[in-house]
């Protein structure tokens, strides 16, 4: 079971829900479950990176989740 946390700025799309725990083997399945539950998140998600257990990824769809994984949605960052 992985838990995904929604930043304060995303709670407008989740009806105020701050986190969701999902039985998902990979990030892809987790995000599918999240967007099924909160369809309004689909568009803003396109501009987010995904942090899994502290490491921030750009395209982690097939990254395996472990029991107790913590997932955060992080605004995309560009560097110089």
């Amino acid at each position: 079971m992985a838990t995904i946390y929604f930043l304060s700025g995303l709670k407008q799309y989740t009806g105020g829900v701050e986190s969701l725990t999902v039985d998902a083997p990979r990030v892809r399945e987790l995000m599918q479950a999240v967007t099924e539950r909160f369809p309004a998140l689909s568009e803003p998600l396109q501009m987010m990176s995904i942090a899994v257990d502290g490491a921030i990824h750009r395209h982690p769809d097939y990254l395996k989740l472990s029991a107790g994984s913590e997932v955060h949605l992080v605004p995309r960052i560009s560097g110089g």
Binding site: Y5, G9, Q46, M47, H57, R58, V74, R76, G80
Partner: protein, 754 residues
């Protein structure tokens, strides 16, 4: 992770292979390339900061002898696509990027390109461009955050609405492109529990990266539709994909060859000239060279945002921070896309703060569209946070480093943007700062000392690498990342470390987009980290192939061959099985199966965050307001320094640019939006004679995401200087300066006022 690994080559300081070419002028930069039949392009730019384009008549220019092509916004399709690094959606708005290349309907800043001419000489192109008749309907310019937010402000984009979390009363259309918010705990309760609350409003000016080499490219649109682009860029694959997306071309028809690059710092990620040169070449059927002047670079490339930041921090009497709130307003320039969100994420990142709210606004103004610049967004945010903390330390009677140490984040603490930190080195950086002799050294008359701290993420993203072994035992490593900060020699060191061959026998090459797998940009402090991972894996691929070659020579199974200290070693010794060096194996490369090429690609997560701190001593002439940095020390956690000299160079360069931002640099505009200082004589960047030797202290807290522990270097050293210098000025003058730069007139005026 390297653990207790003993390095043989990593951490040494070999001479860079490309050094001699660069110091003797032999290296080829963007403007050096030429071709038979080459035409020269010239861009006609808007003289107005904000104007509707009523009409463009190019007929007079077309008729000038020697003119071969003229293009306007009509030649740039109005794209609706978004381009993301490495695939997917998001990132670069190609519609805005295309409109920025050649304006379609409105000129949105002074210098906005409106037409371009290709001719047989640069002089003819310029003279012809000046004959293009553009009819403008001038509009009132919006130059600052306050002007953009004012009631009845002129609107840059008629359809712009606020994305993210707009305020309830947000107007439509608007100049606020985005609002975002980060919140944790109960900020009202936190401030109610605070013993001391300090709040200030700060401004930082728009500044330019100031790279020495102006933008330059050559494009050839062939009769067969195949396109070649030679350009000075931080991201050849980004140039390829942006050109394709903006012009509606198939990326498979475009090959981009990166030249040597004379600095970028984020400013050479976007395209400004390349699609225009392609469009001109397509019309002219000849190759076209385009080179920006320094004036063009200032007026029409991408500086970084000016910002206004209101920061409020509450602490207990024992120095514990209990609450913080901040409002960050970043100028995006003419199109959305300032680093407001990253500024918000960085503003409080070094500290444990249980109750906070940060809001950030991305605001369009009639200035050039901003581009990345070292740790985009973080310096302005840190200027505010670190200045407020300095003031709190003074009011509490605390050592300012002790105040930061008391509140410093550590592994396991949550960042304000959500995830928990892994191993990080802020505490080690602060302790090294406090223990540095500089911190205790006596100050002279009219001198003051300041300290500041900073955070940056450090990027990951996609990289590819190949390593080829020659029959003489030398190797070549090829990547797709232009070398800005000494990455080629760092990559050579990595190959040497894995294969056990001397660094001078490993050549590193930056390939064109046809010759290496996709690689994201050189930027985000990512090349030594992410591309380095690909290089190490590719070298390990070579190493594994060498083990197989040794197994073939010994007629044993590959699993019975180990690799140790640059040699293939038999696990089952026999008289005819003595360890074989790379050189010995390479000599038999043909007999054992032919050439050996290792390859690897990665899509790396962002590296572990980087923290830096700095100490500045400043001396102020109170009669003239002139100040001089007399001593500066920068301390940074880099994870692992592969080539310490280049790490130190990055730290010094970031510090120097940050000092320039703090003391002198700014875009100065007339009320009607015309830049007044578009040249290095009037835009005052620090030069070597302005600065003391900048001392560096490298801290190495290993990043577990990288095989050697590399964390990235190039960006975070520009974050602390703005506040560090201002805090030193506060110490020297007794005045809390909240507006940068601390130029002599501003300092003198403040001294007179107080």
């Amino acid at each position: 992770m390297s653990g207790e690994r003993k390095f043989r080559y990593v951490g040494t300081r070999p001479v860079r292979h490309d050094g001699l070419d660069k110091v003797t002028g032999r290296a080829n930069y963007g403007a050096d390339f030429t071709l038979p039949g080459l035409l020269h392009g010239y861009v006609l730019r808007s003289p107005h900061a904000h104007a509707r384009i009523v009409s463009i008549d190019t007929s007079a220019a077309d008729a000038v002898p020697g003119v071969k092509a003229v293009v306007t916004g009509a030649d740039i399709p109005k794209s609706t696509a978004m381009l993301s690094l490495g695939g997917g959606k998001g990132g670069f708005d190609l519609a805005d990027m295309g409109d920025n290349l050649l304006a379609h309907d409105k000129a949105l800043y002074e210098g906005h390109a409106v037409a371009a001419v290709a001719a047989t000489s640069a002089e003819i192109a310029r003279e012809a461009a000046e004959q293009i008749a553009v009819v403008y309907e001038r509009l009132p310019p919006v130059l600052t955050v306050d002007q953009a937010l004012a009631p009845n402000a002129a609107i840059l984009h008629d359809r712009l609405v606020t994305k993210g979390q707009p305020l309830p009363d947000a107007p439509t259309p608007t100049n606020v492109a985005m609002r975002m918010e980060l919140r944790g705990g109960d900020v009202d309760k936190g401030f109610a529990e605070s013993d001391i609350i300090v709040e200030y409003e700060f401004t930082t000016p728009m500044v330019h990266q100031g790279y020495i080499e102006p933008h330059a490219c050559v494009a050839r649109y062939g009769e067969d539709g195949q396109i070649l682009v030679w350009t000075s860029t931080q991201g050849p694959f980004i140039v390829r994909d942006c050109c394709a997306g903006i012009l509606g071309l198939d990326a498979a028809t475009i090959k981009v060859v990166p030249s040597e690059i004379g600095g970028g710092f984020g400013g050479k990620i976007p395209v400004y000239l390349e699609p225009v040169a392609i469009a001109l070449s397509r019309k002219a059927h000849r190759p076209v060279k385009m080179v920006m002047s320094r004036d063009d670079v200032f007026r029409a490339s991408g500086p970084t945002s000016g910002a206004k930041v209101r920061m409020k921090i509450g602490v207990k009497q024992d120095g514990t921070i209990v609450a913080a709130s901040g409002s960050l307003y970043y100028e995006a320039g003419a199109y959305p896309g300032s680093p407001a969100a990253t500024g918000a994420m960085c503003a409080l990142a070094p500290y444990k703060i249980p109750n906070f709210v940060i809001e950030a606004f991305d605001i369009v103004v009639n200035r050039p569209k901003v581009a990345a610049y070292r740790a985009p967004g973080s310096p302005s945010a840190a200027f505010a946070t670190e200045s407020v903390l300095d003031e709190i330390a003074r009011r509490l009677g605390f050592d300012p480093i002790d105040l930061r140490l008391k509140n410093a984040v550590e592994e396991g603490d949550a960042a304000p943007y959500g995830p928990k930190y892994g191993p990080i080195g802020l505490r080690q950086v602060l302790e090294a700062t406090k223990n540095h002799p500089h911190w205790q050294a006596p100050l002279g008359p009219n001198q003051g000392r300041g300290v500041g701290c900073g955070f940056w993420f450090n990027a990951g993203l996609s990289s590819s690498a190949t390593v080829s072994l020659s029959s003489d035992g030398s190797a070549t490593v090829v990547t797709g990342n232009p070398d800005i900060g000494g990455t080629r020699v760092a990559q050579s060191i990595m190959v040497s470390e894995e294969l056990g061959i001397p660094v001078e026998r490993v050549r590193a090459t930056v390939a064109d987009t046809d010759s290496i797998g996709y690689s994201d940009l050189t930027g985000g402090s990512r090349v030594c980290y992410a591309t380095g991972m690909a290089v190490i894996k590719a070298a390990q691929d070579v190493r594994d192939q060498l083990r197989a070659r040794a197994a073939k020579i010994w007629d044993v199974d590959v699993d019975s061959v180990a690799w140790n200290d640059g040699c293939a070693v038999p696990l089952e010794p026999a008289d005819d099985r003595t360890p074989l060096t790379v050189h010995q194996l390479a000599e038999k490369i043909a007999q054992t199966g032919g050439p050996i090429i290792g390859r690897a690609s990665v899509n790396a997560p962002m590296a572990g965050p980087a923290f830096a701190a700095s100490i500045c001593d400043i001396e102020v002439d109170k009669e003239t307001g002139v100040s001089r940095v007399v001593r500066y020390t920068t301390i940074q956690d880099v994870g692992k320094a592969v080539h310490p000299s280049f790490v130190e160079g990055q730290m010094q360069g970031g510090a120097a640019q940050g000092i320039g931002w703090a003391l002198n640099e700014e875009y100065i505009y007339s009320p009607d939006g015309l830049m007044q200082n578009a040249g290095f004589l009037d835009y005052r960047m620090p030069v070597a004679s302005d600065l003391p030797m900048i001392d560096t202290v490298i801290i190495e807290v290993e990043n577990p995401l990288h095989p050697y522990g590399v964390r990235g270097v190039g960006e975070v050293p520009i974050v602390p200087p703005l506040a560090t210098v201002a805090n030193a000025m506060r110490d020297a003058t007794g005045i809390r300066f909240t507006d940068l730069p601390l130029s002599p007139p501003r300092v003198l005026e403040a001294l007179a006022r107080y």
